[in-house]
């Protein structure tokens, strides 16, 4: 038996809780003002330094394509900002969906961190948004989504672009929850080597690896990581904040999170509000397995049910067609094609 060797030189990562952004998917974008105030206050009291608040698909994501917000996300940003003492409020923006207009407004409502996300090959559509965020005095984070679709060296090239536009940190984002721990580590390591700024990692739990991948990313040098209470996010959810806090504490790198308070917030505050508990069930595992965008889950389920198709068939076909972040409209397209391929009459709704 060889002795257990703990990794050396680990340092506490900065944790961004994204229950109020990635969790928006599981809530079908129906968060109320009161829910947001309560959750933001609880996260703040538990020592979470950054709380992300936005529609799941970023500012201005409220749409037919992604689902309409019950309360405009900018109003929710303002609610969260009004209750926190220490935590800073982050917003997500996907160029092509949201614009600089919403970013400006988010600052007025109390956001101080801009997280700007692109498909991992398209970083050069984010230049104007980083530029504005910096002009507005915001801290900036770049998000390279669907990172499993490209090798580490391509991710590093794209990350360098974001750094050149003004990113203070660039994340490897495993939007499909499709990465294995060594892939997560390799991607983070490539960015660490290429960049002067910080590197982050955002996990999804479709293959049950959210905490494992996050830990692998930290070991590879990630400075920032994301999580949600109860893992409440798209697909099978994200790394659970309360679990991550316990794990980081055991690893001796707790960045100041109150483990028990987070457990309580997860169990007594969030769980009773949740429409369902995201979990690696068969559809969610299929997302990780086929490498498609985690937010496709509920849309594929709804359309599959309506047209009488197994959502897994739709998801696998979307993976084959190399659908990328934000392409929810292809779900209907694929489903209609599958119906037609069966020789049934075209669906007329």
């Amino acid at each position: 038996m060889s002795p257990v060797t703990e990794p050396r030189d680990l340092k506490p990562p900065r944790v961004t809780d994204t229950t109020l952004r990635d969790g928006s998917h599981a809530f079908r974008h129906q968060f109320t003002r009161e829910q947001v105030r309560k959750l933001a206050a609880a996260l703040d009291e538990a020592g979470v330094p950054v709380i992300e608040v936005s529609h799941g698909d970023g500012l201005a994501g409220s749409s037919i394509q992604y689902g309409f917000s019950r309360v405009p996300d900018l109003d929710l940003v303002e609610e969260a900002a009004s209750v926190v003492q220490r935590a800073r409020i982050a917003v997500l923006l996907l160029p092509g969906i949201g614009t600089r207009h919403e970013l400006k407004e988010a600052v007025r409502r109390g956001a101080t961190i801009a997280r700007i996300a692109t498909q991992c090959t398209e970083a050069d559509i984010s230049e104007q948004h980083f530029g504005l965020a910096k002009e507005l005095g915001m801290e900036t984070v770049g998000f390279l989504m669907m990172a499993h679709m490209r090798p580490p060296e391509v991710l590093a090239e794209q990350a360098l672009l974001m750094e050149s536009y003004g990113a203070d940190c660039v994340y490897v984002v495993d939007s499909a929850g499709a990465m294995l721990p060594w892939q997560a580590a390799a991607a983070v390591r490539a960015l660490k080597q290429a960049l002067r700024v910080q590197v982050g990692f955002h996990a999804h739990n479709n293959l049950g690896l959210a905490i494992g991948n996050t830990l692998a990313a930290i070991e590879a040098g990630a400075d920032q990581v994301d999580s949600c209470l109860r893992g409440c996010g798209a697909g099978a959810g994200n790394a659970a904040t309360e679990v991550l806090a316990a794990v980081l504490d055991k690893a001796g790198i707790n960045p100041g999170l109150d483990v028990f308070r987070l457990m309580d917030a997860a169990e007594f505050l969030l769980a009773p509000m949740m429409p369902f508990q995201p979990f690696p069930d068969r559809d969610a595992v299929t997302i990780g397995y086929a490498g498609v965008y985690s937010t496709f889950l509920l849309h594929a389920r709804r359309i599959g049910e309506r047209l009488g198709i197994d959502p897994r068939e739709i998801l696998v076909e979307l993976g084959r067609r190399k659908a990328v972040a934000g392409q929810e409209d292809w779900i209907l397209d694929v489903a209609l094609d599958l119906v037609r391929a069966r020789g049934e009459a075209p669906v007329r709704g």
């Binding site: 079908r28 749409s63 037919i64 394509q65 689902g67 309409f68 160029p95 092509g96 969906i97 614009t99 600089r100 207009h101 498909q119 090959t121 398209e122 050069d124 559509i125 230049e127 104007q128 948004h129 309506r306 067609r321 190399k322 659908a323 990328v324 972040a325 934000g326 392409q327 409209d329 292809w330 209907l332 397209d333 209609l336 094609d337 037609r340 075209p346 669906v347 007329r348 709704g349």
Partner: protein, 305 residues
């Protein structure tokens, strides 16, 4: 009035768009005669191609266009910033401008939707590729039942999105959304653009969603109006087609559970110069050629009367 009964036209800008447009006009000139392609880069591939086809070229840009009094229509495929300057000079010279940049100096035009309103406009703007693609179908719905909300998602191959689009992506979403309202007649418009890096590149795709103002609607009338419009656009963009029949869905919306009309559109380019997957660029150059043709017809008709 030139002797051959055609209207002399020029292309300003010798990049991808200008060059594809050149091939389109040469292939099907209608009442136009392409007499000049003007750029500013002596090494431009577009100018070399124009020369090899026997078209007069210049690296003097707008100056060369202004020096030729016989040129009556100018297609501007440069940049928004340059077009603002060009627009003024062309207007002073009495030349009509078809603006393929996002400058939007003149009114928005989508040929089968509103060209008739602007036949005499000194300057017309072609909005965006997403606008040219989707506005006809929003208009096709709104002309038979009022549209409360229209939303479009344009997905283009990464390779077909040039630096201009990439550095100005906000302008795409805001200009296209406005076009859905102004020309598509939707009370509220929203536009989303997605770049897909798949190899081989994907053919341009557009999803058009409309929420009718009233639930009292006749699906058959809507389908017929949409199919008719698709056929009309196909006259100048042969690769314009619905992938599936018009789909009627029910969705949760801020206005309660409502009917959502979904139209899944694919645009394959003609491959004149740009590759067929770049339907987003093809529809711009096709629309430009069509607007030029209609303007020229109008000019000739006016002269003979």
């Amino acid at each position: 009035m030139p002797g051959n009964g055609r209207v002399k036209v020029a292309i300003l800008g010798s990049g991808n768009i200008g060059t594809d447009l050149m091939y389109k006009i040469l292939k099907n000139p209608g009442p136009m005669e392409l007499v000049l392609v003007a750029g500013i880069d002596p090494n431009s591939e577009g100018l070399a191609r124009a020369r090899s086809l026997g078209i007069r070229t210049s690296v003097e840009g707008i100056r060369a266009v202004l020096e030729d009094p016989e040129i009556r229509i100018v297609f501007d495929a440069t940049s928004a910033k340059a077009h603002v300057r060009h627009a003024k000079l062309l207007r002073e010279a009495g030349k009509a401008a078809v603006d393929l940049t996002p400058a939007a100096v003149g009114p928005y035009v989508v040929p089968p939707v509103n060209f008739g309103e602007h036949v005499d406009a000194p300057n017309v703007n072609l909005i965006t590729c997403g606008g040219q693609a989707t506005i006809p179908l929003v208009y096709a719905v709104s002309r038979v039942t009022p549209v409360q909300y229209a939303e479009i998602v344009s997905t283009v191959a990464s390779r077909s999105a040039g630096p201009g689009t990439r550095q100005n992506i906000d302008e795409f979403t805001s200009t296209t959304a406005r076009g859905l309202e102004v020309l598509g007649k939707a009370a509220k418009g929203k536009a989303i653009i997605i770049l897909n890096p798949a190899e081989p590149p994907i053919i341009m795709r557009n999803t058009i969603y409309c929420i009718p103002a009233s639930e009292d609607l006749d699906p058959q009338t809507i389908r017929e109006s949409v199919e008719q419009m698709v056929a009309e656009v196909q006259r100048y963009v042969p690769g314009y087609r619905l992938k599936n029949p018009v789909h009627f869905d029910r969705r949760e919306t801020p206005w309660g559970e409502r009917t959502v009309i979904a139209m899944l559109l694919e645009i394959e380019g003609a491959g004149d110069f740009l590759p067929p997957y770049a339907g987003n660029l093809d529809i711009m150059t096709s629309a430009a050629r069509r607007v030029g043709e209609l303007m020229a017809q109008h000019m000739l008709a006016r002269v003979t009367v």
